[in-house]
C-alpha cells in the first residue's frame, strides 16, 4: 500500500517507518521542515513537504501521493517531561492534533483515500471495575489536565468516525516506552 504518515519524526515514527517498509509498503512522511525531510530520507521514507496546520498544503500533498491510507501520529509533546514543559506545550499539542486531524480528514475525503488510522489513548478510560474495553468512555470527569486530554481524543475520534466514505481505525495506545520515548534509560524519565 501507499501510506502517508503524519507525525513521522515523533517517538513512534522511526520504528513505524521501518516496520511499514519491511511489510512492503511505500511510506511517505509529511515533513514540516527541510531537516525533517532529510531525516525521513535517511530513514528510507519518501518526504512530502507540508505543514499539517496548512489545509491547502495537506490537500496538495495527498493529491500528489494518492495514498491508500493515512496514519496520524501527530503530537506536539515536549522532548522533556516536566510539569512546566507539559503545560507550555499543551496549547500547541491541542492545536496540532485537532487542526491536523481536521485538515487530514478534509484532504482524505476529497482525495478518495480509503483508510484513516489515528493515534488515541488507551490509558484514560473512566474509572470502573477491572480493565476497560473499547466500548467504555474516557475519563471526562478526571482532573483538569487529564479531562482536557480525554476531550481532545474524543473529539478527534468523533470527527474521524463522522467522516463519510472512509475506513476509520482508532489506535488507543498505552504509554509508550522503549527507545526514543520518555521511558528508557536515556529518556527523560530515565534521567
Amino acid at each position: 500500500m501507499r501510506v502517508i504518515l503524519a507525525g513521522p519524526t515523533g517517538a513512534i515514527g522511526r520504528p513505524l517507518i521501518r516496520q511499514l517498509k519491511d511489510a512492503g509498503h511505500a511510506v511517505f512522511g509529511l515533513a514540516r521542515s527541510p531537516e525533517s525531510a532529510r531525516a525521513l530520507s535517511d530513514a528510507g521514507a519518501g518526504a512530502v513537504t507540508a505543514d499539517v496546520l496548512n489545509a491547502a498544503a495537506v490537500r496538495a500533498a495527498i493529491a500528489r501521493i494518492r495514498p491508500d491510507a493515512v496514519i496520524n501520529e501527530l503530537t506536539a509533546l515536549p522532548a522533556h517531561y516536566t510539569e512546566a514543559e507539559m503545560t507550555a506545550a499543551a496549547p500547541r499539542d491541542h492545536k496540532v492534533r485537532t487542526e491536523g486531524n481536521a485538515n487530514l480528514l478534509a484532504a482524505i475525503s476529497e482525495g478518495g483515500v480509503r483508510r484513516y488510522i489515528l493515534q488515541s489513548s488507551g490509558f484514560w478510560y473512566a474509572p470502573g471495575a477491572g480493565l476497560a474495553d473499547e466500548s467504555e468512555q474516557f475519563a471526562f470527569n478526571a482532573t483538569p489536565g487529564i479531562a482536557a486530554g480525554t476531550r481532545t481524543y474524543a473529539e478527534l475520534e468523533s470527527s474521524a468516525s463522522g467522516t463519510p466514505g472512509i475506513e476509520f481505525v482508532a489506535l488507543r495506545y498505552g504509554f509508550f516506552y522503549g527507545p526514543g520515548t520518555w521511558y528508557c534509560s536515556e529518556g527523560d524519565m530515565g534521567d
Binding site: 501520529e73 474495553d133 483538569p144 495506545y173 498505552g174 522503549g178
Partner: protein
C-alpha cells in the same frame, strides 16, 4: 511514589505499538486498545522502572504532599488510572505485546 500508587498503567513498547499500527492497515474499522497484556499498578511499575535504569528507589509522598508539589493530574495518574484490555487487538490485529521489560521476572 504517591499514596498507595494503586493507579493501573497500560504500557506498550514502541516497537509493539508500531507492529499493531502496520496491522491496522488491514483490520476491520473501529477502535483498538494497543496496550500490554498485564496493566501494572503504579506502585509496582514505577520502582521497577527506577531499578531498570539504575536509579534510586523513588521517594514516597502522601497524596496531599503530591497535590501541593505536583498538582492534581499527577495524583490521578498515580492513584486513579485504569488499565485497558487488549483482547480485541490480540484477536484482530494478531497483536503480541511483550511483557513490561522492567519487571524481572514478569509477574505472570
Amino acid at each position: 511514589m504517591i499514596g498507595k500508587g494503586e493507579g493501573v498503567w497500560s504500557w506498550v513498547h514502541i516497537e509493539d505499538a508500531a507492529a499493531a499500527t502496520v496491522a491496522a492497515l488491514e483490520c476491520a474499522p473501529g477502535a483498538y486498545n494497543v496496550v500490554d497484556s498485564d496493566p501494572t499498578p503504579h506502585h509496582i511499575c514505577l520502582p521497577a522502572f527506577a531499578r531498570a535504569v539504575g536509579a534510586a528507589e523513588p521517594p514516597r509522598l502522601t497524596k496531599q504532599q503530591a497535590l501541593d508539589s505536583f498538582g492534581a493530574d499527577q495524583v490521578y495518574y498515580a492513584t486513579r488510572l485504569r488499565g485497558a484490555s487488549n483482547g480485541k487487538a490480540m484477536r484482530e490485529l494478531h497483536f503480541e505485546p511483550r511483557p513490561l521489560e522492567w519487571l524481572q521476572p514478569p509477574r505472570k
